[in-house]
């Protein structure tokens, strides 16, 4: 074997990647070659010094807890349908040259849109009103008028005498009825999940919670679960959890409570989830191994000391029975 061949072996041996046969061959050579022996010693002390001076960040428990918490939030956004990278956009990270170019492009785009909205005739500005065709009963239009917006011409009717267009007809509606009325529940669940204003979402959940939905309506339950798991506002999530506690405890609600306990960033909500699981101990499902597994995990790893203590207490109580 040439010296270059031995150099490869030296390198592998010093970094601890040599098999026994190769090591035997190398050691025989080292007994006779001073140059290689010197190189071998240098390499070994180099590796020892590297390992003694660790680089990078120490991946300690605190960093792990922070990373897990941030991941939970990103997963929540992902499940809610918002791409996780939306929160990562950082204008500061854009190189200065690109920043100027983007700024100029943005200004041009805003100018173009402003000019268009000011100088082009818009059908929406007219907002003609139509008589509403709503039926009488518990549902009635607020002012008996429908607001017409966003008129878009599909066919201008050249030659045929007929025109075709689309528009949005927005009618304010006032509803009055029992919370158990499926129509009322449908509107409330829609508001709970789709309203942009968190105050409205909270009021929708409140309405369901205050009156207490006795019926096991699948859609309402599913909307409450979605609100508890995905709403960006912790008040809405908590109110949804409270509403779910008033429904008969079943497998679906149990899983939702476990997910909230595992993933929610708010300690208060995690405590409420433990309480819900604890109070459901007497239900037909009882405290099964799924619940105990999660509680054990929380007792060991939750960032919040109170939750760890609480989880331990519930486990103790459950296993004592």
């Amino acid at each position: 074997m040439t010296h270059d061949g031995y150099r490869d072996l030296l390198f592998l041996s010093a970094s601890g990647d040599m098999d026994a046969d190769g090591q035997a061959v190398l050691e025989r050579h080292l007994q006779t070659c001073l140059r290689c022996r010197k190189e071998y010693e240098d390499l070994r002390s180099f590796h020892a010094a590297l390992v003694a001076h660790r680089v990078g960040i120490e991946p300690d428990e605190r960093l792990l807890a922070e990373a897990r918490q941030e991941l939970r939030l990103a997963l929540r956004r992902e499940r809610a349908g918002h791409p996780a990278w939306s929160g990562w956009f950082n204008p500061g990270a854009i190189a200065p040259l690109y920043r100027y170019a983007l700024g100029a492009a943005f200004t041009l785009a805003v100018g173009f849109l402003l000019g268009r909205s000011l100088f082009l005739p818009s059908a929406a500005q007219e907002t003609p009103r139509l008589a509403s065709p709503f039926p009488a009963g518990g549902v009635r239009p607020e002012e008996d008028e429908t607001r017409i917006t966003n008129v878009h011409f599909v066919d201008h009717g050249r030659g045929t005498g007929e025109i075709e267009f689309t528009f949005d007809a927005v009618t304010p509606v006032r509803m009055r009825g029992s919370i158990d009325d499926p129509k009322i529940q449908k509107v409330l669940t829609h508001a709970m999940l789709n309203e942009e204003n968190p105050g409205i979402r909270l009021k929708a959940v409140n309405a369901i919670n205050r009156q207490g939905v006795e019926t096991q309506d699948v859609e309402t339950k599913s909307a409450l679960i979605k609100a508890m798991e995905m709403d960006a506002n912790v008040g809405v999530r908590k109110e949804a959890l409270n509403a779910l506690r008033r429904l008969p405890f079943d497998g679906e609600i149990k899983k939702a409570m476990l997910r909230a306990l595992m993933s929610d960033s708010n300690p208060g909500l995690r405590v409420a989830a433990i309480n819900a699981l604890d109070s459901a101990r007497t239900s037909a499902l009882g405290m099964d191994s799924d619940v105990l597994d999660v509680l054990r995990q929380k007792a060991a790893t939750d960032d919040n000391n109170y939750i760890r203590v609480k989880a331990r207490a519930v486990i103790l109580e459950a296993t004592r029975q």
Binding site: P59, L63, E70
Partner: protein, 184 residues
């Protein structure tokens, strides 16, 4: 395997348990590869988001851990610092005391101040030398020397031949020795 199947069916609890089983390794690799806690957390998050999005396509042709490690390697290699302060923390000299204490760089109290200063200087020079390597060389070097993976394990993670890994490590070691010849 059962846990993976459950997670594939949308069971978020199963997914979280999978994360908890594998995330220490992922964070450790990320933390050794970059020099700021924020960047390590970014890598960690990106890895598990890719795992979450790709879970349904996982066909059990490899171990789940191998798949996660491959994703980790890919994310490390394509990682670009999203947080501005990364550039300021490339060298240990620029790190402030608060950050280093917050993330476990606890110094040995038995060690005298002179010794500590020398060690900090050597660590700083090692990091600087590592910064001069190509991403693949740096990753192989940190996986081998700081994470203790074998060459064949690194080859599986990087989806390349063991000989290629050996070449990266050989070149990285040679360059590091040149850079650090008067330091260690």
């Amino acid at each position: 395997m059962e846990l993976v199947r459950k997670a594939q069916q949308g069971d978020i609890l199963a997914f979280e348990q999978l994360v908890f089983r594998h995330d220490k390794k992922v964070l450790s690799i990320a933390a050794r590869y970059v020099t700021s806690a924020d960047d390590a957390k970014d890598i960690y998050q990106e890895v598990f988001l890719r795992v979450y999005r790709g879970l349904k396509k996982f066909r059990f042709k490899s171990e789940f851990s191998t798949w996660v490690h491959r994703i980790t390697v890919n994310v490390c290699l394509t990682q670009r610092s999203r947080r501005r302060r990364t550039m300021q923390t490339l060298f240990l000299d620029d790190r402030n005391e608060e950050d280093s204490e917050a993330h476990g760089e606890i110094r040995d109290p038995a060690m005298g101040p002179d010794h500590q200063a020398v060690n900090a200087d050597i660590s700083s020079r090692i990091e600087k030398a590592l910064g001069g390597l190509s991403p693949k060389q740096k990753l192989v070097f940190t996986l081998r020397h700081y994470e203790g993976y074998k060459l064949n394990e690194i080859a599986v993670m990087m989806n390349c031949a063991e000989g290629t890994v050996k070449r990266y490590l050989f070149t990285a070691t040679r360059r590091m020795r040149d850079q650090l010849k008067d330091a260690i």
